[in-house]
């Protein structure tokens, strides 16, 4: 039997160029299949980890998913803000344990700027009820101080005491800058694996301060209020983008949600983060299934390529098979020879695909984390991935039977004298 394995190996090596290309095709299709599943899984984990212990996210009336994306993930834009009075009313609501008001709108070299207050560092939790921790420094206590997320500090090589300037609007381009009001870095947060890492945090008063001499998104010509003077003005914000709410009794969330929705003074909505995420997954789930189906078909195409390549080579190999029969090979051995070749190429292709996947994740992971706040990490296959692999291998097994069977039939009918 080992002779046949050696024969199959030598035969495959002899056609290594063609088989190598097919191997690559199978490897890439496996990487695609597993990659989609891995991304799907890791993105969900990542999103689900981003906030914990928050009962409601309150903001202007928009879709619940959009509010979540903006308030928690800093993706997309807010259509409207809610008034500071509404935020205060919430904070003083007897059912509420704590609130964290948030405002977004500025950026620093592509990273979003989040304006909030000290409650953020006390009450914001992520993952499995993890609080925020500082690797250096402390929360801001003066107006022009800022706290950086781990990735911001790491990528831009900032340390405590450095000065940075914020830009108006979001995105990479150096739009109109608040050059006259630099911020000093007072603290750097520990890595969380959530969008917090790529956020620049300032106080709500600071947000007001830098826009004092601005109007409608641009500085007022001729008016310049130097940073030392800002404290003379009232730096209470007029509006906030969203408020995170924690309740004393989590079961009372529905009642409060209703109250907020029914508020006649300020149009608001309150969203349960868990429920909003579940809605998001329902919508996204359809697309995910489609993607998975498509990549499954790509694998099938790769396998079909393998099968047709081996079948095609069969024509030239009929004399070779007759020789093997003349030296004592059974027709089953012939079947085995051809099927083994296909099966091994498929197996190696799949393994290569797994390796490729992890290499790609290793290389691209940091980029994805910094751009989208999604953490992918090289890991052993999850159960869903193993299931996909199982189906791929079974499919490959079935597929490699085909050339084997064909060779078997040919060998039976050719005998020692094939009709070449």
């Amino acid at each position: 039997m080992s002779m046949l394995i050696r024969l199959a190996a030598r035969s495959a090596w002899n056609r290594r160029f063609t088989l190598g290309l097919i191997l690559l095709a199978i490897a890439l299709s496996t990487t695609l299949l597993l990659g989609i599943e891995r991304i799907r899984h890791d993105v969900r984990e990542s999103f689900s980890q981003s906030v914990s212990g928050t009962d409601l996210v309150v903001g202007a009336r928009t879709s619940s998913v959009q509010l979540m994306l903006y308030a928690i993930f800093h993706i997309g834009g807010a259509t409207n803000n809610i008034g500071w009075d509404s935020a205060q009313k919430l904070a003083h609501n007897p059912a509420v344990a704590w609130t964290i008001p948030l405002s977004l709108g500025d950026s620093h070299r592509g990273f979003p700027v989040l304006a909030t207050n000290g409650d953020y560092f006390t009450h914001f939790h992520y993952g499995d009820k993890q609080p925020l921790r500082f690797t250096a420094g402390q929360p801001f206590h003066n107006v022009f101080q800022t706290v950086l997320g781990a990735d911001v500090a790491h990528q831009l090589h900032y340390k405590i005491g450095d000065k940075i300037t914020l830009s108006h609007g979001s995105g990479d381009a150096h739009l109109t800058e608040h050059a006259d009001k630099p911020f000093v870095i007072s603290g750097i947060l520990a890595n969380t694996g959530t969008p917090v890492d790529r956020t620049v945090h300032i106080g709500l008063d600071a947000m007001e301060a830098i826009h004092l001499d601005w109007e409608g998104g641009a500085p007022i010509k001729g008016l310049m209020i130097p940073s030392e003077m800002v404290k003379k003005f009232d730096l209470t914000p007029k509006t906030v983008t969203a408020v995170l709410v924690g309740l004393k009794n989590r079961a009372s969330v529905f009642a409060l949600q209703r109250d907020i929705a029914d508020d006649k003074d300020d149009p608001q909505m309150a969203v349960l983060p868990g429920v909003a995420l579940d809605e998001l997954w329902q919508v996204v789930g359809i697309g995910e299934k489609v993607l998975l189906a498509v990549s499954g078909m790509v694998v099938v195409v790769g396998l079909a390529g393998l099968v047709s390549s081996i079948l095609a080579s069969l024509g030239e190999r009929r004399r070779e098979l007759a020789i093997l029969r003349s030296v004592g090979a059974h027709p089953i051995d012939i079947f085995f020879l051809l099927a083994l070749e296909g099966f091994v190429v498929m197996l190696v292709g799949v393994l290569l695909g797994i390796v490729l996947l992890n290499v790609v994740i290793l290389l691209l992971g940091p980029f994805l984390t910094s751009e989208f706040g999604i953490t992918l990490h090289p890991a052993l296959p999850t159960k869903e991935e193993l299931l996909l692999l199982l189906w791929t291998v079974i499919g490959g097994l079935m597929a490699s039977l085909l050339p084997g069977l064909r060779a078997y039939r040919l060998s039976l009918s050719d005998g020692l004298t094939p009709k070449v």
């Binding site: 030598r10 002899n14 004399r319 030296v327 090979a329 059974h330 020692l416 004298t417």
Partner: protein, 237 residues
């Protein structure tokens, strides 16, 4: 006292799907160490005869006994094993497996047959040396042995094929038109080597060819057309 190494009696065979038999022979006997020339033009049932002798197929009627063993009495896989144990084959062309080395080609039967493996080891201390001495006696210089198969001339390839058929000294050598692709003087040379080796190994040689000029070298000559009653009129062009 020589016994029949090949004994074909009252055989009738038709391929599956064919109504009329392709081969019908009353009696065909080959005795030990005979060297038989069989004239077999196309249509005379040559491939069928080889398939029957090789045990690829069994006749619907009659018996074929090789070295005393009746082929229809053993299973198909036993016939495959029997074939490699006792018969060496040489074909007309493309005799060698392109992705194996020359030595591996020669030693192929020893990988499938323990019987021939043991007999080859009796010739040389290792299988490799047994193969090498056989190649040498077939006029293949050592310098050629490490060449890939595709770089050999037709004549050289046929001689390697002969070595493969001869290794382990099987009792019967069946040669199916081995010289058709060679030019005249190489044909003679090839036959010289073949016949000498068969004598030395005490093997029986069955030489099938349509080339009558070679027939003179053989003591026994047969025409398949006459042996085979079923050779069809339509093929006599």
């Amino acid at each position: 006292m020589s016994e029949a190494v090949i004994n074909v009696e009252n055989v009738s065979f038709s391929w599956p799907g064919q109504s009329a038999p392709t081969l019908q022979m009353d009696a065909f006997k080959v005795e030990r160490q005979d060297q038989v020339f069989i004239a077999g033009p196309s249509g005379s049932g040559k491939s069928t005869l080889l398939a029957l002798i090789g045990g690829i197929v069994v006749p619907q009627r009659g018996t074929i006994a090789i070295l005393g063993t009746e082929l229809h009495s053993i299973s198909a896989s036993a016939r495959d094993q029997f074939r490699v144990d006792h018969i060496g084959f040489i074909f007309q062309q493309f005799n060698l497996i392109p992705y194996l080395s020359i030595l591996d080609n020669v030693l192929l039967p020893c990988q499938f047959s323990r019987y021939r493996r043991q007999r080859a080891l009796a010739q040389g201390t290792t299988l490799r040396s047994a193969a090498e001495s056989l190649l040498r006696s077939l006029d293949l210089a050592p310098a050629l042995w490490s060449r890939p198969v595709t770089q050999l001339s037709i004549g050289q390839q046929q001689r390697v094929a002969a070595a493969r058929a001869l290794i382990g000294q099987p009792e019967i050598i069946v040669a199916d038109e081995p010289t058709s692709a060679l030019d005249a003087d190489r044909q003679q040379r090839f036959l010289d080597l073949m016949q000498r080796e068969c004598e030395q190994a005490c093997s029986t040689l069955l030489f099938v060819s349509h080339d009558q000029r070679l027939a003179s070298r053989f003591s026994h000559r047969l025409a398949l057309n006459e042996l085979n009653h079923a050779a069809h009129l339509e093929d006599q062009v």
